[in-house]
């Protein structure tokens, strides 16, 4: 029986917990004890991670997965025990072919070209936030003033969710990603957001607009329940992800003056810097988790039907066999191929939107405030080890 368990507690803000980094030196695939006592697996190597994520003999259905983390064990128990069904339209946690049907309806909206067309609008939104920051004067909390509102405004506009109604879902989204939330609270939060979005879908059916949800309604392929599930997925995924990359990414650049200077001196590095920040910081620090639908051999290990596999993406993205010297942040390194957006059929649908938001956001922030710096000692920045998506709770900055 293995002693290895999963924790999100770190020794240093930008580096994954040392236990798992050391583990990677011994191999790609390890036995791990899950919170419910299940003897499953932990993957720490790049090649094995790609193999698992690309293999459809591994399921993404939540009711099959064992909980890797004690903090979420009660929620997982709830999902596994009762007559749980993934809400219609929440296709992230489904397998092909259900997944394929939803994904194909949406991919056309998130292509490289579509996101290019959105760039001018993202720039406007970004500059408006920076104007407001500048007018208020420092110090400000960069999360509150910049990192969260930009992706939030963009996804709301894209979906057709009125931004002024964000109180109806932003607090509940926080509960959803909090590792300390009780299962009953998390399920209640999900319920409230679904109720809000179901109402929004009905309103859109009555009064369609020029947005993604209205377009899907008009397409006529999805029921209101399915549309609600799709909207829920895109809204939550569009909020907590890019926001945390903008916050933690800025913190990482401010903590590494050489890298910050390199990027300031050569703004053409921004596209590459975004990939490198995604790789080096990898804010998805719990899972993904997959469960074997049949016996599968990965890197010489026999993973039996029903066993769960947790991927440690922050450690995987520093695998020296794929990214030599991966513990260093280097905005000039070729960083594409990182698994920060995942891999396989569930690879992030909104990744081209996230890239555009990060390229525009980081570049505009550095341009506007040449003297940008932390307004508190570096070790006083509160870190999100207690959230399903890593980052900073607050980032007090001045200029």
């Amino acid at each position: 029986m293995t002693d290895l368990t999963l924790t999100t507690r770190r020794e240093r803000p930008f580096d994954p917990p040392e236990t798992y980094a050391r583990l990677r030196e011994r191999g790609d695939v390890h036995r791990m004890r899950y919170a419910d006592g299940h003897e499953g697996w932990l993957v720490t190597g790049y090649a094995a991670a790609r193999a698992v994520l690309a293999d459809q003999r591994f399921s993404n259905r939540p009711e099959l997965a064992h909980p890797p983390l004690a903090a979420r064990a009660d929620l997982a128990e709830e999902i596994r025990s009762q007559e749980f069904e993934v809400p219609p339209g929440f296709f992230l946690r489904t397998d092909a072919p259900e997944h394929t049907r939803y994904r194909k309806l949406l991919t056309g909206q998130f292509t490289v070209r579509r996101m290019k067309q959105l760039e001018a609008r993202i720039e406007e939104i970004t500059e408006a936030r920076l104007d407001e920051m500048e007018a208020s004067g420092g110090p400000v909390d960069l999360v509150d003033a910049f990192a969260l509102p930009i992706p939030s405004l963009v996804i709301c506009e894209l979906l057709g969710v009125p931004y002024e109604e964000r109180a109806a879902f932003q607090e509940d989204t926080k509960i959803l990603v909090s590792l300390d939330a009780r299962a009953s609270d998390a399920l209640a939060a999900i319920g409230r957001v679904f109720t809000y979005l179901y109402g929004l879908v009905s309103r859109k059916r009555e009064h369609p607009g020029e947005d993604l949800l209205s377009g899907l309604i008009e397409g006529g392929e999805l029921t209101d329940d399915e549309l609600t599930g799709v909207a829920f997925l895109l809204l939550v995924a569009g909020h907590e992800t890019t926001a945390n990359m903008l916050g933690l990414g800025t913190y990482a650049l401010l903590a590494d003056p050489a890298q910050l200077t390199a990027l300031r001196d050569d703004p053409s590095l921004i596209g590459n810097a975004v990939e490198e920040l995604m790789r080096h910081l990898t804010i998805i620090h719990v899972g993904p988790v997959r469960t074997a639908l049949e016996d599968v051999e990965i890197d010489g290990h026999l993973i039996r039907k029903g066993e769960s596999v947790t991927l440690h993406l922050p450690v995987i993205n520093r695998d020296p066999s794929r990214f030599p010297g991966g513990d260093r942040l280097d905005v000039t390194r070729p960083a594409t191929g990182h698994l920060g957006f995942g891999h396989g059929i569930h690879q992030c649908l909104g990744q081209q939107l996230a890239r555009a938001e990060m390229r525009i956001g980081f570049a505009a922030l550095l341009r506007r405030f040449p003297g940008l710096r932390l307004a508190v000692p570096a070790d006083e920045v509160p870190l999100r080890a207690d959230m399903a998506i890593y980052g900073v709770h607050r980032l007090p900055v001045t200029w």
Binding site: A54, T107, T111
Partner: protein, 63 residues
């Protein structure tokens, strides 16, 4: 070198169009891959090979 694309497998992530826009595009309808140059010119071969490796769904092949 010739590139083959399977649009039934493609999930429209856009990694190929991002990597070598001269060779790969995405359909307006469902975002799946559109091959602009199935036989990429020599100077784009390396990029096209990288796009095949980066493809998350295994929809691309270099033959």
């Amino acid at each position: 070198m010739k590139i083959e694309a399977d649009t039934n497998v493609c999930i429209g992530a856009g990694m190929c169009a991002l990597t070598v826009p001269e060779v790969f595009d995405q359909s307006e309808e469902d975002g799946t891959v559109v091959l602009l140059q199935p036989v990429p010119p020599a100077e784009l071969e390396e990029g096209a090979r990288r796009a095949v490796t980066l493809c998350p769904s295994g929809a691309l092949k270099a033959v």
